[in-house]
């Protein structure tokens, strides 16, 4: 199944963001969404930065004391500010963040998020995700539709420990854009060339197909 590249996934997620929004990005792929926006979006990083600039890729210019929550060196731009984690989580728990884009190991039909403890003998790592989900206005999951081993990640019930219950409002994968609704998972966009059956095959809950189903908005 030919899905979006990681860059296009980030671009699709970036399209959800509107000028003036305050946005927190999870570690890994979500953290790269900041490199795909054009409007003034203010990114907040839980390690203590607000309004920072995109990733620095030039090793010469990297400053290990100026990093985002993925520990990737980022840049400064006018209006940036720095603070401690206590202030950072006031913003996050306090409802000041409009959107969080996070990764996940599993998402359930009801929007439960599981993104720690993949295996019993691996140390679990909730990091700041639990705190973030408790306060942010909208949680978008950005992830590959299935695992590298082809295992289904969008499930009826999470088999992994839940990081936050019923918080996910949208799932963006390399294959589809799905809204979590009261009635169930609403398929709204799909990667060009993929059939409905194909996307259902790799999604455990029965997908409701939107009347306005369309190809990915990129």
């Amino acid at each position: 199944m030919k899905g979006l590249t990681r860059e296009l996934m980030c671009l699709r997620a970036a399209n959800e963001l509107k000028e003036g929004m305050y946005v927190n990005l999870g570690t890994g792929l979500p953290s790269q969404v900041k490199d795909f926006v054009e409007e003034e979006i203010i990114f907040q990083s839980e390690n203590g930065a607000l309004g920072y600039a995109p990733t620095i890729w030039d090793e010469e210019l990297m400053d290990y004391e100026l990093i985002d929550a993925s520990a990737v060196p980022v840049g400064m731009k006018p209006g940036v500010s720095f603070f401690d984690v206590s202030t950072s989580f006031v913003m996050l728990r306090g409802g000041y963040i409009d959107v969080a884009i996070v990764g996940a190991f599993q998402v359930s039909e009801r929007g439960d998020l599981a993104n720690y403890k993949e295996k019993k003998d691996v140390l679990s790592t909730p990091g700041g995700i639990m705190d973030i989900c408790s306060g942010v206005k909208r949680v978008i999951v950005l992830m590959e539709h299935v695992t590298r081993e082809g295992k289904i990640k969008i499930v009826n019930e999470c088999s992994l420990p839940v990081t936050a219950k019923g918080v996910v409002s949208t799932i963006i994968t390399d294959l589809a854009y799905i809204d979590v609704t009261q009635e169930g998972l609403l398929l709204k966009e799909i990667v060009p060339g993929l059939s409905l059956e194909e996307v259902q095959t790799v999604t455990e809950p029965k997908l409701i197909v939107s009347k306005s189903l369309q190809e990915f908005m990129l």
Binding site: R6, G26, T27, G28, L29, P30, S31, Q32, S45, E46, N47, G48, A49, T55, W57, E59, M62, Y64, E65, L66, I67, A69, S70, A71, V72, P73, F82, F83, D84, V85, S86, S88, F89, L92, R93, G103, A104, F105, N115, Y116, E118, D121, V122, L123, S124, T125, P126, G127, G128, M130, D131, I132, S134, G135, M143, P161, V162, A164, K165, G166
Partner: protein, 245 residues
């Protein structure tokens, strides 16, 4: 004359006994007090309880076998990248107790201890494993868990500049847990890049006022970050850590 400067990290940490609870600042390498951690690792103290964000900060104390219990939001951070780090192996063998704690709740528990407050109700972790053993209570139709203050015997803190009163400023994203660790500890020891005269730190940007600081020493070594920065470039920032993406 007030003088919190100490001549060496060894002198600054000399009195720390076995069994102490020590908070270690830092998030990845940013703001990690590596000089103090290393000096304590050399002393081979035992049975420490360590509170801190990432093993990049407190790793030397794992390697020295000094830790009995680790309280951390992200103990797996960077483990894959540092194959020799025995943390996970020790944990699997039951030789190291690991308590996982959400990042923000940790910050708030440290602050509450420093602030002389009692327990507080926090919405984080409702409906998850974090509920276990905690009092749950509803206010205004919202569920909360009762979280307790987390006092520390010592805090290891990394600052940028420090003066003899103990005032400290921290560069950019190195603040992270350092101010709340300093608040929560009976004895706070800070390593700084530069010792300055009083007045050398902006009074409007004194991130840790001297009242929270007991001892100040010079940082002796910069962390070796080259491998990490190279990996960021090589993997396009995909998997620096072991978080879920």
């Amino acid at each position: 004359m007030i003088n919190k400067f100490k001549n060496s990290p060894e002198e600054a940490i000399a009195d720390i006994p076995d069994g102490s609870t020590i908070g270690v600042g830092g998030f990845s390498y940013a703001g990690s007090p590596l000089t103090l951690v290393k000096a304590l690792a050399v002393r081979k103290v035992k049975n420490l309880t360590i509170v801190g964000m990432t093993p990049t900060s407190y790793g030397a104390l794992i390697e020295s076998g000094s830790i009995q219990k680790l309280i951390s939001p992200y103990p797996s951070w960077g483990l894959k990248a540092r194959h020799l780090n025995p943390l996970e192996e020790l944990w699997r063998r039951g030789e190291l107790e690991v308590e996982i704690i959400p990042m923000g709740s940790l910050a708030e528990r440290l602050r509450a201890a420093g602030a002389g407050l009692g327990p507080f109700y926090c919405p984080v972790g409702i409906g998850t494993e974090m509920e276990r053993g905690k009092e749950k209570r509803v206010f205004n139709n919202k569920e909360y868990l009762l979280e307790f203050p987390m006092p520390l015997d010592y805090a290891f803190v990394k600052g940028h500049k420090g003066d003899r009163f103990g005032n400290v400023c921290c560069r950019l994203t190195t603040k992270n847990y350092n101010p709340v660790m300093a608040m929560a500890a009976k004895i706070t020891i800070v390593e700084v890049d530069e010792m300055v005269e009083p007045g050398g730190i902006d009074p409007e940007a004194t991130h840790i006022p001297g009242i929270f600081v007991n001892r100040v020493v010079l940082t002796q070594e910069k962390p070796k970050v080259d491998w990490w920065l190279k990996q960021v470039v090589k993997t396009k920032g995909r998997r620096v850590d072991e978080g879920a993406d």
